[in-house]
Symmetry: D2
Subunit: 344 residues, 4 copies
């Protein structure tokens, strides 16, 4: 264990949602990022631990705004993030944004999928899409990192190696199963315990907001620049965890061995994204920043199936944000991050 | 409510597994089938209610063999069913078998997928595959009904209308999510509570035993007789329920309206299989014999996605068996069957 | 199965809460009570099945008020029930009320525990507290039955035999564990899936509204008329089911055998409340009107512990209401009621 | 963050049970205890991560025996621990035992409650009962720490302050609710997912093995040396977490304020055991070494009710063991331990 001389003042904006709470948990143990501020929209002045006793030992109250922090983690809903992030950048702070507000490069997609005119297209341009596995070299210079959410992280980590190596046809199905915490802390009938418990269902069949993001990130890896992507998210009755089951046809001549080799090369040295030799369980990742990837070829039909699992609030949100920040500040990429799951 | 004059003596073979328990629950209320015997392999002489207090009011003890029943529901594992069913038939009884032992027509598939030489190929021939929606006319004459299991029922009800009408390419993906009761009452690490709870995983990736059965039933609907089927089952942390998400490409010229019309015609008069206008929830089916089907065409890419949900122990096992038996005896198809789910 | 000549028109008031949905499920199968109306406060005109697809086959839309029914099941919140019940009675209808609005005999308790002046003390007087096990003789003449809720039903069925026979000191602890559906369909942070899942907690420690009701019903059984009752409800992560663990000291000279005999006599002929010889599981009761009671005396210390389990939405609400109505109309007490649990 | 010069070699005996896995997770991050060996009884030679992928990054295989470690955490079942612990001590190692094998001081209790003659009564004598809150001064000299399990930890932390201050009558009820992981990783029907899910039940009514341990620890705090203890454990459908609801009558003259003051004094400076002002949730503790205690006096009847919650595998097992070891080696008591829960 090394001791770090220089510390960086960090803030969490909107510490009352599940992403924000998880950021506070992770940052409170971080050896370099000192959590100095946690903002909230309605609980200003309240001790963080009085609302969230699980964060025992944290000696902070919710504040109304960011004042001292140099590094700001924004865990706001999209519409609020799109307003605040430019202000934080203008104040000279570095920002890791966990919303979708700066993830899409094409401004028009916000109009179509999010029903608003994006007010800061220039910032869209410069934001770095924060999947560290594929953005490691651009993060140290980034002022704004648009941290991908749980579904895109799981899908892109599962499919990028095969697509980049042109092993599969650009015709892809992503069938994702998510726990309920991905739906956030805002109340709704669908997330009412008696409705969601002992239930599985698909949703977003007429078009889910994460589709354009997954599509953007995967399309850039296809030679032809054309991709036919179907993405169907499902809710399964558990709090945390995502499993993405991804399907594609192998290109002629591609073998199971070639697939295996491409994935091994892609993830051999990754600190958190690990290739496994058997179908992974979401439970392996609970509370940790791990993502397990398992590519296989079906016995009948020779189709590529890639499974990926992660904890949607860690590798799919707060943990990935801290991982990005570590790279931004040229720290060890796993600094302060849980590398082991809470099991069972 | 009509009163029935003639009654039929019925037995459940192996009433200690989940399929058997559910058969006992359903039959104990049936106005024509009189449950006179419930057999068990290790609990002979024990009162059924002392082992399963939920069956309160049933005045039967487990017996070693079937003696009086004319109609026998066999809820044994495959290997035991394959031995006993021919004996029951030879004794002149009518049999509804819930195992896979007589579902495949091609004997060779048992050698390959089940690792045993099927000893009664002639019976394979005459057994009626008991999906009432598509076998209604052959059931009244049947001596042996091979009742399909939960995965094939969900997959075939979802896809048969589109395949039969040649709306889709014969290249299909079935991504199924099942509760744990589908794995039965036998103990295993994967069904140990602390392992399965708060976990989602895929299994059977190197080939699941239900693949040849789904393949058999769907292939017969394809003009060309050729089908490329990928079937990936998943376990989700709930006791009952299956959701099948089925993917296929539409044939050229096929529209969403054509799809809708074909499914409406297929299921308009079905007592249990219902078309719905929104993504169905497994919870809608708990304890009932209902199956909900929802076909849709994706916004991006024009792919057909069909969702189907059912209770794996009712429409996916015991309820379907009783439904078959009702048709065998020319009774109202829904006689004695729960048509409403326990909600929430 | 007997066929019934005369039918009775029945209505459910407020069919959009969990109690109301369950009433609709049970009544839709009832051979005498014909469900002719289901009211709602905000969904008037909507087909019941479009909101609750689990009720498939029901051909009714939500109506604004009761018009035709002779028998009305009221599943409103207390404050709304207290207004509507007197009107329904004035119109000459018989009413089974599932709220707490007419359960307490002492008007002052409403002021103290429910913070309102009860407007109809005369009706409090005549209402029959509808626990059929102890009110069977008064129900046939009743115009209004105040049907006890899940906690009082579980507690009173557990303790009444011992108290009535003066076997225990009038100093009692009821530690109750309930599934989440008992908290209703109204959204709250405490019933948000990600908060309630994988969590157990106590609540109502400063006084729960069911305390005066349990206290009223148990106190009347104590010779001295004095009872010291502690009632602590807990939420456990499941949808349905209540387990009450009840503690009391045995009076001098009382033996385990005396306890057993008193309970056997109390429940020997009950259709739904069953004495068992081992600790009961809430799962035995799912979807049924069963209540299992298990009295025992601790090895160390000689304390009476009585366990009782039931499905809070059936024997703890809708099922008990139908059971009461059966007795009101001198029908078989179990008519149309599920006597077997959905297991597992 | 301080860096530690001297390291101590540590081993986990039986790293394949839930207590053992959790020890490995915690120790793998510990800045002083270096995990050098993890033993197993049947998986010797297998990489720990191949059996438990959640422990990613750990570079150890299961070994057959302890060779190098100076500090040994024993996570064996009682019968195996009673054999191995004396050997480890004889080899000069310091031992933290997580089984019950050395927790009882009176040898006769093993004969009665565990059905075996304890072979090492002298070691019983010298073993320190490792509840750090009350054993802090004896731990630095201890060779063997008998680390209390989840039920006794929750019960003793809830009741010790009140008993020690003679605030309550020595007539106590502990109603405990535990998640399933407390039942371990060994398969049984009661812990089969479909049986345990959506179920709550009591067990051990004829005498639970933890009764003598709770009784021993609480009795020593009673002036008279006489205690009437009733302890009823329950299983609730979640993986981790215990809630103990403890009941006792206040002694004459004792007020709520006196209770509050006694508990505040008891736990004011504790690193992990925290007094809270509202009913605590088990979820607050997930994955952490926290225990929350909430004493209150009932509105009606003036009874003391104390609630305590903890994660049965951390503060109720592995975390407490590491906490004890920290004190044994005069390290900061919270060194390497998670002080914040994973929420939600």
């Amino acid at each position: 264990m090394q001791e770090y001389e220089s510390h960086i003042r960090a803030a969490v904006v909107n510490g009352t949602g599940y992403g924000g709470i998880e950021l506070v948990r992770l940052l409170s143990h971080h050896p370099v990022f000192d959590l100095v501020e946690v903002t909230a929209r309605t609980e200003v002045g309240t001790a963080v631990t009085s609302l969230f006793p699980s964060l025992q030992g944290l000696d902070l109250s919710f504040s109304a705004s960011v004042e001292q922090a140099d590094l700001v983690f924004v865990a706001l809903p999209d519409q609020a993030a799109v307003e605040m992030v430019p202000e934080l950048l203008a104040e000279g702070r570095r920002v890791v944004d966990l919303s979708a507000a700066f993830r899409l490069k094409n401004q028009a997609l916000y109009t179509r999928w999010y029903q608003y005119e994006h007010p800061a297209p220039a910032i869209l341009e410069e934001a770095v899409y924060g999947l560290p596995e594929f953005a490691r070299d651009r993060l140290p210079e980034a002022h704004l990192v648009a941290c991908p959410g749980c579904y895109p992280t799981a899908a892109v980590l599962a499919l990028a190696p095969a697509l980049r190596a042109q092993l599969i046809e650009p015709d892809i199905i992503v069938d994702a199963k998510s726990g309920l915490s991905g739906a956030g802390r805002t109340l709704s009938t669908g997330t009412h315990y008696s409705e969601a418990n002992e239930d599985t269902s698909a949703y977003g069949l007429s078009g889910h907001r994460h589709w354009p993001e997954i599509n953007q990130e995967l399309t850039r890896l296809v030679d032809s620049g054309e991709l036919n992507l179907t993405f169907i998210p499902h809710l399964v009755p558990m709090t945390r965890g995502i499993l993405s089951t991804c399907y594609a046809s192998l290109r002629p001549g591609v073998t199971k061995e070639m697939v295996q080799q491409v994935y091994e090369e892609a993830y051999r040295t990754e600190p958190f994204t690990r290739l496994v030799a058997t179908a992974p369980h979401t439970k392996w990742t609970l509370g940790s920043n791990l993502c397990f990837v398992y590519p296989t070829v079906t016995h009948e039909g020779g189709r590529l199936v890639v499974l990926s699992v992660l904890d949607n609030l860690v590798k799919g949100a707060a943990g990935q944000a801290v991982q990005c920040a570590n790279v931004m500040y040229r720290l060890p990429e796993d600094l302060g991050l849980p590398t082991k799951g809470v099991y069972p």
